[in-house]
C-alpha cells in the first residue's frame, strides 16, 4: 500500500474558454489502488477535466497535487514524468512502427552518438507487455494488431514510468465483450499495484462493476462523489441530469399529417439491415442508439452519401433512388450532419455565404451572384432562428457552437425541404442554446416539416421526439411512441436486451 492518501488530487479547478466556462470550481481525487469513475453528460466538462489532469490544458485557477505534492503541468510529457497518464479514446499510435517503438516513443533508449539501443528497447518493452499479459511481441508492427491490442499498447505506454494515476477515457467504446474482460483484468492488476485509476464511461453497468467511487459533473460543475456500493443508477442519473427522469410527455398530440417519407427494408453493407420506418409531416422522429448502431449511416444513405445494397425509399408517395447529395437536395431532403465543423460548415466563409451555399445557383442576376438576394435570405433566417452575429460578413468560425448549428439548420430551411434530418443536433453546444435548438426542432415540426432527429443523448431524444426508434447493431429493435417510452425500456432496446 502506498503511503500517500491520494494518488492524484485537484482542488478548485476553473477553466474558461472564449465561449464557455468549461470547469467551474471542480475538486476531485483518486486514491492509490482505487477505480474512480467520472460521469457526466456530453459537454459536462469531463474531457476538459481530463485534459487538465493530463497536462494538456492549463487551468485558470485551482491546484493539482500528485501524491500530495503540488504540481504545475505544462505538457502531457511532464504529467507523464510525474506519473499521470491519459489513455486516449482515439488511439494515437504510429501505425507503421513496432510495438516497442510506440511504447517508448519520444524516449527511446540511446547508446553513444544518439543511436537507438534496440536491445534495451525490446527488453524493456517485453517486460511491460508481460506485466499486461499481452500475447504479442515487442517487434510486432502496430498496424497488424486488433483495436483491443492497440489499446494494450497505449496502456503499456503509460507504464514506462512509475505511474501513480492512469486516466481511461471511454476505454470500452470499441471493444467486444471478451476484450472488455481482458481490459478489466489489466485494470484490476494496476489497482493491485497501487495505481489510482480514473475511469470515464457512459456505460452504467461497467461503472458499477469496476469502480470504487463515482463522481459526477454537470455543466462544468462538480455535483458530488458517491461510494459505488451505497448508490444505484437512479441516484447517479439524477445527479447527472439534475432532475429525476420524468419521461412522460403528457399532452403532446401525435401528428396526423400525411406520411412524407417511407423507407422499406433498407440495407447498406454491414452498417444496417432491413430498416423500415416512416415519418409524417408535423412530427419529430427520434433515432436513438449507441455510436455505431447505424443511425448516422441511415441518414447518410438517405442523403446519397452511401450506396444502398437494397431497399425502397418513398417520398410523398413516389419511389425515388437517391444517387448523390445534390440529387437528395433536389428531391427535398436536407441533412444537418453530426459534426458541423467537419461536414456542415466552411469555417473560413461568412455567415451569409454558408447560409446560401446550396442554392446560390438560383440567386444570380446575369453571370453574378445577387448580393441583395443573398442578404435577404440571410436576414430572414437570422431573424427566424434568432442567430446572434454582428453581421453577415462575420466568419462562421468565429461564432459560438449554438449559432453555428443554427446557420446549418437555416441553410437547409432556406431550401424548404420536405424532410429535415438532424444528426446530433446539440453536440458540443452549451446548455442554454441546447434548449433553444430543441424548441426550434419542435416548432419546425409544428410548422409541418417532417423532422428526423438522431442523438446519443437520452434526455435530448426524450424531450424532442414524438416517436423514437431504438437501434442496436444495425437493426431497429423497437419503436416507441412518446407515451410508452421510459428510460429503462429505451436503454434495454439499444443494448439488444429487449
Amino acid at each position: 500500500m502506498n503511503a500517500f492518501d491520494t494518488a492524484l488530487r485537484v482542488q478548485g479547478i476553473v477553466k474558461t474558454f472564449p465561449a464557455v466556462r468549461a470547469l467551474d470550481d471542480v475538486s476531485f481525487d483518486v486514491r492509490p489502488g482505487e477505480v474512480h469513475a467520472l460521469l457526466g453528460e456530453n459537454g459536462a466538462g469531463k474531457s476538459t477535466l481530463m485534459k487538465v489532469l493530463a497536462g494538456m490544458h492549463r487551468p485558470d485557477q485551482g491546484r493539482i497535487f500528485i501524491s500530495e505534492e503540488p504540481a504545475i503541468l505544462h505538457s502531457p510529457l511532464e504529467a507523464k514524468r510525474l506519473g499521470v497518464v491519459l489513455i486516449h479514446q482515439e488511439l494515437s499510435l504510429a501505425e507503421q512502427m513496432s510495438v516497442a517503438e510506440n511504447i517508448f516513443l519520444g524516449e527511446l533508449p540511446r547508446k553513444n552518438f544518439g543511436m537507438v539501443d534496440w536491445k534495451k528497447l525490446y527488453a524493456d518493452a517485453e517486460a511491460i507487455l508481460q506485466r499486461l499479459n499481452c500475447d504479442f511481441g515487442p517487434q510486432t508492427r502496430v498496424e497488424d494488431l486488433s483495436i483491443a491490442k492497440k489499446q494494450m499498447v497505449e496502456i503499456a505506454r503509460a507504464l514506462t514510468v512509475e505511474a501513480k494515476a492512469v486516466i481511461f477515457d471511454e476505454p470500452t467504446a470499441s471493444l467486444t465483450d471478451q476484450e472488455k474482460e481482458v481490459l478489466f483484468d489489466v485494470i484490476r492488476d494496476l489497482q493491485a499495484q497501487g495505481v489510482g485509476i480514473v475511469y470515464i464511461s457512459h456505460r452504467m453497468e461497467e461503472i458499477f462493476r469496476i469502480s470504487n467511487r463515482i463522481s459526477v459533473l454537470r455543466d462544468g460543475t462538480y455535483r458530488g462523489t458517491l461510494e459505488t456500493v451505497d448508490t444505484n443508477e437512479d441516484e447517479v442519473t439524477r445527479l447527472m441530469i439534475g432532475r429525476s427522469l420524468d419521461t412522460s410527455r403528457g399532452g403532446k398530440v401525435v401528428s396526423t399529417g400525411p406520411v412524407v417519407l417511407k423507407v422499406e427494408n433498407l440495407s447498406c453493407g454491414d452498417l444496417f439491415e432491413n430498416v423500415s420506418f416512416s415519418v409524417q409531416a408535423g412530427e419529430v422522429l427520434g433515432f436513438y442508439g449507441l455510436v455505431g448502431a447505424g443511425r448516422t449511416a441511415i441518414a447518410e444513405a438517405l442523403f446519397g452519401l452511401r450506396r444502398l445494397s437494397q431497399g425502397k425509399v418513398v417520398l410523398n408517395g413516389q419511389e425515388i433512388t437517391i444517387t448523390s447529395p445534390r440529387h437528395a437536395v433536389e428531391q427535398g431532403l436536407a441533412l444537418v450532419p453530426e459534426s458541423r465543423k467537419e461536414q456542415g460548415l466552411v469555417l473560413g466563409m461568412s455567415c451569409r455565404d454558408n447560409m446560401t451555399l446550396p442554392q446560390i445557383g438560383n440567386l444570380t442576376t446575369g453571370p453574378f451572384v445577387s448580393n441583395g438576394g443573398e442578404i435577404a435570405i440571410f436576414d430572414r433566417y437570422r431573424d427566424l432562428l434568432s442567430i446572434k452575429t454582428p453581421g453577415w460578413r462575420q466568419l462562421v468560425g468565429n461564432l459560438s457552437g449554438g449559432n453555428q448549428q443554427k446557420i446549418v439548420i437555416g441553410k437547409w430551411l432556406a431550401m424548404r425541404p420536405k424532410v429535415l434530418i438532424v444528426d446530433e443536433p446539440t453536440r458540443g453546444i452549451d446548455v442554454g442554446s441546447k434548449a433553444e435548438i430543441h424548441n426550434l426542432l419542435r416548432e419546425l415540426a409544428a410548422d409541418g416539416y417532417a423532422v428526423i432527429v438522431i442523438s446519443s443523448e437520452m434526455p435530448e431524444i426524450l424531450s424532442v421526439s414524438d416517436r423514437i426508434i431504438a437501434m442496436y447493431r444495425g437493426e431497429i429493435t423497437r419503436e416507441f411512441t412518446a407515451d410508452e417510452v421510459t428510460e429503462d425500456n429505451l436503454v434495454q432496446a439499444i443494448s439488444g436486451l429487449s
Partner: protein, 332 residues
C-alpha cells in the same frame, strides 16, 4: 473631415492587413524609385508589366486551383507545348495560302491543348483521388517529354513577322500583352468574387465535405478549374512566343515554381479555401518589380534568387504574425 480621414485610414489599414503584399509592393516601389535612376519611368513600368504578364496569366488560373485546395505543377510544360504548337502550326504548308490568318488555327490549337491537358489533370484527380500534387508532377514530366518528342529537341521560329510584331505592339500607351493580362485579371477577379463558380471554389477548398453535403458537384467543379489554369498556361505560352517570335522546348522551366511563389505571396493558402485575385496581382507585381529593380541595380542574377527566396519566407512569416488566427495550433 478628420473623422473621414480616420475611417478611411482604418479602411486602408484593414486592406493592408488583408493584402499585406500590396504594402510590400509599395515599399519596394518607393525603394527602387529612390535607389536607381532608371526605375521610375513610364517606359520601365511598361517593361515590368510585359515581363510579369507571362507568370501573371498563369497565376490567375493557379489562384483558382489553389483556393480549391489543389495545385498544378504542369503549367510550365503546358506553356512550352502550347508555344511550340502555336509557332509550328502557323508554318504548316496547309495554311500557306491563309496569310496572316494562319496564326488563328495555330493559336486555337495551342489554347485547346492547354484546356485539354487541364481537363486531363482534373479528371485524373477527380476519378482516382490521387493528390493533385502527384498527378500534376507526373503531368509536368510527361508533357515536357512530349514537347521534346514533338519538337525533336529543336526550336521553332515564326516565319511571319506579324506574329512577333503582335508581341511588341501596343494599345494606346500600354503594351498589348500587358492589356491582355490586365483584362484577364479583371475577368478572373469577377469570376472568383462574384459568380457561383467562384463561390463554390472557396467552399470546395474550405471544406470539401461540407461542399459535398451542400450538393456541389465537387469533381466536375475541380475539373473546370484545372481547365482554366491549363487555358492560362497555354495563353502565356502563346504570348511568350510572340515576344520572342520563337519557341524552344525548354520554355517555361521553373515557371510553376515562380507562379506558386507569386500566388502564395498574394495570400492564397496552400491548404485551400482562402485567397483572391487582388492578392495574386500584388504577388505577381512584387516579383516583377524585385527582378526588374535588382536588375537595374545590377545585382547579379544568382543573388536575385537568394534574395527572392528569403523574401518569400519572410513575407509569409510576417503574414502569419499579423493574421495569427489559429490559436490552438500545436507548437512543433
Amino acid at each position: 473631415m478628420s473623422i473621414m480621414n480616420k475611417s478611411s485610414a482604418a479602411r486602408l489599414w484593414r486592406q493592408v492587413v488583408r493584402h499585406p503584399i500590396w504594402f510590400f509592393v509599395l515599399v519596394i516601389f518607393i525603394f527602387f524609385s529612390l535607389a536607381t535612376d532608371h526605375f521610375f519611368a513610364f517606359h520601365n513600368f511598361q517593361n515590368i508589366l510585359v515581363q510579369t504578364s507571362t507568370i501573371g496569366l498563369i497565376a490567375l488560373g493557379m489562384t483558382l486551383v489553389m483556393i480549391n485546395g489543389n495545385i498544378d505543377l504542369s503549367v510550365g510544360a503546358t506553356l512550352a507545348l502550347a508555344a511550340s504548337l502555336a509557332v509550328d502550326i502557323q508554318g504548316w504548308p496547309v495554311f500557306e495560302s491563309w496569310g496572316d490568318w494562319a496564326m488563328l488555327p495555330a493559336v486555337i490549337a495551342a489554347l485547346a491543348s492547354g484546356i485539354m491537358l487541364g481537363a486531363l489533370n482534373g479528371i485524373i484527380v477527380w476519378k482516382t483521388g490521387v493528390n493533385a500534387f502527384i498527378v500534376t508532377l507526373g503531368a509536368m514530366l510527361g508533357v515536357r517529354g512530349l514537347v521534346f518528342i514533338y519538337t525533336q529537341e529543336q526550336s521553332f521560329y515564326a516565319m511571319n513577322f506579324a506574329y512577333s510584331d503582335f508581341g511588341s505592339s501596343a494599345v494606346g500607351p500600354l503594351p498589348t500583352l500587358a492589356v491582355i493580362f490586365l483584362v484577364f485579371t479583371v475577368i478572373t477577379h469577377f469570376l472568383l468574387a462574384r459568380t457561383v463558380h467562384g463561390r463554390n471554389t472557396y467552399a470546395v477548398g474550405g471544406n470539401r465535405d461540407a461542399a459535398v453535403n451542400a450538393g456541389i458537384r465537387v469533381g466536375p467543379h475541380m475539373v473546370v478549374n484545372f481547365m482554366i489554369v491549363g487555358f492560362f498556361a497555354a495563353l502565356a505560352g502563346v504570348t511568350l512566343s510572340t515576344q520572342m517570335g520563337a519557341s524552344t522546348p525548354n520554355l517555361g522551366r521553373d515557371y510553376e515554381l515562380w507562379t506558386i511563389t507569386a500566388v502564395v505571396l498574394g495570400g492564397t493558402k496552400l491548404t485551400g479555401g482562402a485567397g483572391n485575385i487582388i492578392g495574386t496581382l500584388g504577388g505577381v507585381l512584387a516579383i516583377g518589380i524585385l527582378r526588374n529593380g535588382m536588375n537595374l541595380m545590377q545585382v547579379p542574377a544568382f543573388y536575385v534568387l537568394v534574395i527572392l527566396g528569403t523574401i518569400l519566407i519572410a513575407v509569409l512569416f510576417l503574414d502569419k504574425q499579423v493574421n495569427r488566427k489559429e490559436d490552438g495550433e500545436l507548437r512543433v
